[in-house]
């Protein structure tokens, strides 16, 4: 390793080293936490399929179960710690969507139950639903026009 003599050189050295390592660590944590949440979903899925539930109902059960776990962990202030550690790892699974509803609902309780809890719940989930649902309507209209999955047209 080259020797570091002045502050300037040290700053250069830090700049060179630091941008890379946090993103690698962030990605590693996001990878295994996100993967683990999906595996928990898969275990719940396999269990209810094993019990003879139909496939689409089982998918809904998986979503609701993960959302319940997320709500519970948010309520006891554990989810935020996981979120800080895992970043996108807990944000991208359905748990993150649930947390984005539950966390502001708790935080804005002091502003009242209607404009606090009721309105602030959708700070993040609102846009997600607006864009998701609007896109799905367009998908439905395109599907109606061609009456086939669009991939068949390409």
């Amino acid at each position: 390793m080259e020797s570091i003599n002045t502050n300037k050189e040290y700053q250069k050295y830090v700049d060179k080293k630091s941008p890379n390592s946090p993103i690698f660590k962030d990605c590693f944590n996001a990878f295994w936490v996100g993967g683990l949440i999906c595996v928990i979903g898969q275990i719940i899925y396999d269990y209810f399929i094993f019990r003879g539930f139909p496939q689409d109902l089982t998918s809904t059960i998986v979503s609701i179960s993960l959302i319940f776990i997320s709500a519970f962990l948010t309520a006891i202030n554990v989810f935020n710690k996981i979120g800080k550690f895992a970043g996108a790892g807990s944000l991208i699974p359905i748990t993150g969507f649930a947390n984005s509803i539950i966390s502001p609902a708790m935080e804005y309780k002091s502003e009242g139950y209607v404009m606090g809890v009721g309105a602030k719940m959708f700070t993040v989930a609102g846009p997600v639903l607006v864009y998701g649902i609007s896109t799905s309507v367009i998908v439905g209209l395109v599907y109606l026009l061609f009456n086939t999955q669009a991939i068949m047209l390409v």
């Binding site: 946090p22 993103i23 962030d26 990605c27 996001a30 990878f31 936490v33 996100g34 993967g35 683990l36 949440i37 999906c38 595996v39 979903g41 898969q42 275990i43 396999d46 269990y47 689409d56 998918s59 998986v62 979503s63 609701i64 959302i67 709500a71 309520a75 895992a86 970043g87 996108a88 991208i92 359905i94 993150g96 969507f97 649930a98 984005s100 539950i102 609902a105 935080e107 309780k109 002091s110 809890v117 719940m121 993040v124 989930a125 846009p127 997600v128 639903l129 864009y131 998701g132 649902i133 896109t135 799905s136 309507v137 367009i138 998908v139 439905g140 599907y143 109606l144 999955q149 669009a150």
Partner: protein
């Protein structure tokens, strides 16, 4: 329980882990490199998922990785698209307005209801400034 354990496809767990993990890593790179806010990332994911679902591409990922593809928010988008196409096939035009929410009703309602309950039972705490 033993019967259930022996019925499990452990290979599927690995695939769910890797694909689910990779979807999170893509988002993490976007957060770190582009300064996109988490809200924008979630909107991006649900929109991309809906489009890929509408194109009939996402279902291959679901077949491959199971919950590794359905649990991330792209899977929520795919679910919207899947619901809408199924409903259009059944009810025509109206289906475009019904199918999406119908397919994802459980998740949305659960999040709202549990969120409301959590706000009821939680003690208001001082916000850290």
């Amino acid at each position: 329980m033993g019967e259930f354990l022996s019925s499990i496809d452990y290979w599927m767990f690995l695939k769910a882990f890797v694909i689910g993990g990779l979807l999170c890593v893509i988002a993490q790179v976007l957060i770190d490199k582009t300064k996109l806010t988490p809200a924008r990332i979630l909107v991006l994911y649900v929109t991309v998922g809906t489009i890929l679902g509408g194109l009939g591409i996402y279902k291959y990922l679901v077949d491959f990785a199971g919950c590794g593809a359905t649990v991330p928010l792209t899977g929520f988008g795919n679910n919207l698209a899947k619901g809408v196409t199924e409903e259009v096939a059944k009810n025509g035009f109206l289906g475009a307005f019904i199918g999406g929410i119908k397919a994802s009703a459980g998740g949305i309602t659960a999040a709202i209801f549990f969120g409301y309950i959590a706000s009821l039972i939680s003690k208001p705490k001082m916000k850290k400034q």
